[in-house]
Amino acid sequence: MQDYDVAVVGGGLLGSAFGWGLARRGQKTVVFDEGDRAIRTARGNFGLVWVQSKGQNMPEYAAWSLRASQLWQDFAAELTENTGVDVHYVKQGYNIVATEAELESAIAGQDRITAGMGDKAYGYEVLDHKTLKAVAPHIADSVPGAIYTGHDGHCNPLFLMRALHQDMQAKGAHYQPNTRVGAITPRADGGFDLTGEDGTLLGSAARVIVAAGHGAVNLVRDLGIDLPVHADQGQVLVTEKVSESMSFATGTVRQTDNGSFLLGASSKQIGMDTRTDLPTLAEVARYCISVFPFLGKLRLQRAWGALRVMTPDGCPVYQQSEAHPGLFSFACHSGVTLSSVHALEVAKWVSEGNIPSEFNVFHPRRFDV
């Protein structure tokens, strides 16, 4: 007999959504979460709940992102109702671009998605400058337009984390902070023992989800599982807090609920390095100001760098070990967006011990060709 139905390794955006979803399904759940020493992408993201442009290379991922967006409103409302924490979800977003070339390539991307999804495709509109200006009066004269789908938006990802943590514990999950899982060992009875760095037994569970972001790679390699993720660094700028003027998000600019504008985000593959640098930040600022000139008048207050958990094709990796059934390892970019499906659907897969076959496309064996 194991201590828990499910042990989740990692309490970032993925692990928190799974922990909450499992506790909500009545599963006896524990979440082990390493402390501030770990790379914690959940604390450094941009807060978009974003559908468009996703899944150009995999229609199933486009459909999955769409499904996530469709569940988000109720997901956010349930969290707020249970915790009193407002996650500030606003379903309003335009992919506003700076140049004609970018707009062309964004349209081509949406066309690929539409073709791939077939009759499951969602519609999108291309707004020209004039139409866009009516909803986004502060765009630069040079902005050619935007893409609008009705599915994109943004939230406060830190309040999302807080609400998930608070409510999973209210639902009986054990959240164990500052606890790094050093090893997962299959037991004779089919469950797993989880041990800490110093070898002490942390607990046992019938099933295990490894959702430890960058910390997962070495942990599952010991069990013969290849988790193909690498770090993709993004740098984000934060302005002074100002009065409310923009409710929608673009792919690169959004105003937070306390008035700051976030400008993002660069993309660089430089290993496990979260440091910011001036040329990169200047380029982020330059691009955003080229879309919204008023941003140039705001004082910057801070900047940060964080590491995307990136797979080779940018799409999620969901897998259950064949050698050790009950051992799941999940990793993806866009963990904010997908938190609704992770909480409400993936948690169900794990509680039932089976990833439905329609989601086999997300198995990393797709990279083996």
Partner: protein
């Protein structure tokens, strides 16, 4: 902290929203305001709730004030000066040309 011949800190006179306050030379503006029982340095731009110094070490940006006509000063990082004129942050309406830029 600057001391005089009798080892007493020198006093600096400044004002907050027109009200005179005194502070020991070398103190930060945030410390001077707090010592004068001024806890709310300003209000939050969106919610309108009061805001004041939180970390006292330059990281939270909750202590913003206008000093001698210049907005966006961190009160916890500025040292009091004789005659300094401290005000709450003016409304920051980003799209109305009220930023720090030059147009």
């Amino acid at each position: 902290m600057e001391l005089d011949a009798t080892n007493t800190p020198k006093t600096v006179r400044l004002s907050f929203e027109g009200t005179a306050i005194e502070a020991p030379a070398g103190a930060t503006v945030a410390a001077a305001l707090l010592a004068a029982d001024i806890i709310a340095f300003g209000t939050r731009p969106v919610s309108g709730l009061p805001r004041g110094a939180f970390c006292m070490m330059g990281t939270c940006f909750e202590c913003m004030v206008e000093i001698d006509g210049i907005a966006n000063r961190q009160a916890c990082l500025e040292t009091v000066q004789e005659g300094q004129n401290i005000r709450r942050m003016p409304p920051r309406i980003p799209t109305k040309g009220q930023g720090d830029g030059d147009d």
